[in-house]
Symmetry: D2
Subunit: 171 residues, 4 copies
């Protein structure tokens, strides 16, 4: 049995080498604020869109640019055209959560991001979702995403994930 | 000409008889608050979920009950399980908007609502969306929706709308 | 002493006849949204500032102008410099509330508003507060309030109310 | 004069040794979210109350307890009775800010916190403020703050700061 064990790589080697896990997904930590709860005692569902947005901003910084500068210096806005969230388990006040963000698809005039909200302490997947963005100028006219940003956001083929179909998780 | 006019029903008769328009859809007026805008100069996209919720509460009142009492007296919560929004045109500070809400599907343990956000002054459809709710007790265990509420919310067959069709589908 | 007492009008007569109380106050109705509650089961305290703002916008419309146009056409912003709220009794989901707003003081470069939040159904005063605003241009430089707006907002001397001191109601 | 100067310690020595500055203040880092901005291009003023609250939660954790547990296990809520904010300079999207929080006064049934919001990159004080809290049970009846929490929150005399008077900074 010992020799057999030596023939296979340990499980975590695959994890560490997996581009689907190592690349593309970016993690942002947030802590649930009191104001984000509602009278049900859990986080109000609208806040997940705000957390997705925080994850998106943070992913841009990790890719090497500031979304603020993209808006203010390069006249390119990522206007939200669609949003989808599936809420699987509640989040509570003071929870420390991880927002996992990833570029799912990038076209000349649009970008699709996918997200997962995970609570690391008990490894529960709280929510998953996606947002579709049109790139516009400050007058809200659709335009091409500037090449420099497109390159920074582009993921290689291994990472190219379809937006997840209905009733199925993105990963 | 007079006889010809008598052969066709006036336009507003169709309107008044249309179950898609007359039944089911409930209208709630809201006015855009300054706090709901963001640095793009338009309403931040997370607020549409809050407006949908305001529409839902108002539809319940129009159907003859208070969602507050459903929660507090009958131990039945409508927890949000999924949300989808398509943003078609921006809303601006001080806009007066109509939130149109409708029960799309009601099952023993879940309810699906659909929504439209319209700006009556220029008749622009700003957004449309849907939310799926699981009925739970206050411990967040899924339970059957109480019969009394189910009856109040049930729409007849003419009203039974699919979540909005192609080119409007969520996925 | 009895005759002396008969020489003066009772206190409440002055109250009822006081233009400072009768005039100036503008009322705006709002209904508490589910998203505005927190896990205490009551409205989260930050929302009162948003309701004050809604009352302020509405008072401007009642005075004959749109704050939106003041910003966009006349390059005059009312930036918030100070806010104060005293919370006296909780507001609950679905409550219909009246936001009472009034100009307390207007100077060449600043405006002070005072507010009361009342629940008409049981006549409870839920909160009171005030906000001080500096008038700036879009570059956030302090400027004079345009005369046309100053005139519309100016209250006559009878209305000129001091901002209420600490631990005391504004009226 | 030279000798006189040598007799007194330089100003900054007192600052560095001052327990009022070194102790008591707790720092919490936050990053400005897009959703927190408004059409003026700056952070909407209601968010400062939410940041104060985040600072308060974090101070409790630093003092050795969770405010969540205080509410849920010990039936002691810190209901907001008053809030005051002075806005001195705008905050912008993506700014990294420090929320400085401190217990200003603790009594048997109330607690007063004071706050500063600072942008460390340019050392600008953006805002300062305070909140007064009544301690209540879950039925919102005022009660004594449990001794264990009072001890954890109590500051020694050197730290006992008066709530700052009008038009003056807390430090």
């Amino acid at each position: 049995m010992e020799s057999a064990e030596q023939d296979v790589l340990p499980f975590w080697i695959f994890i560490l080498n997996s581009p689907a896990i190592m690349d593309g997904w970016h993690e942002t930590e947030i802590r649930v604020r009191y104001a984000e709860t509602d009278k049900m005692g859990i986080v109000h569902h609208a806040n997940y869109l705000i957390w997705f947005e925080a994850g998106r901003s943070d992913l841009c910084r990790a890719k090497g640019f500031s979304y603020k500068e993209m808006e203010e210096n390069d006249n390119a806005l990522m206007v939200v055209a669609e949003s989808y969230v599936r809420y699987k388990s509640p989040a509570y006040y003071e929870d420390v959560l991880s927002v996992r963000t990833r570029v799912a698809e990038i076209r000349s005039r649009s970008i699709r991001f996918i997200y997962e909200i995970v609570r690391p302490t008990d490894e529960v997947l709280l929510a998953e979702g996606e947002t579709l963005h049109l790139v516009t100028d400050t007058s809200k006219r659709v335009r091409q995403i500037p090449d420099s940003y497109k390159e920074l956001l582009t993921v290689d083929d291994r990472d190219m994930a379809q937006a997840f179909p209905a009733n199925q998780a993105p990963s």
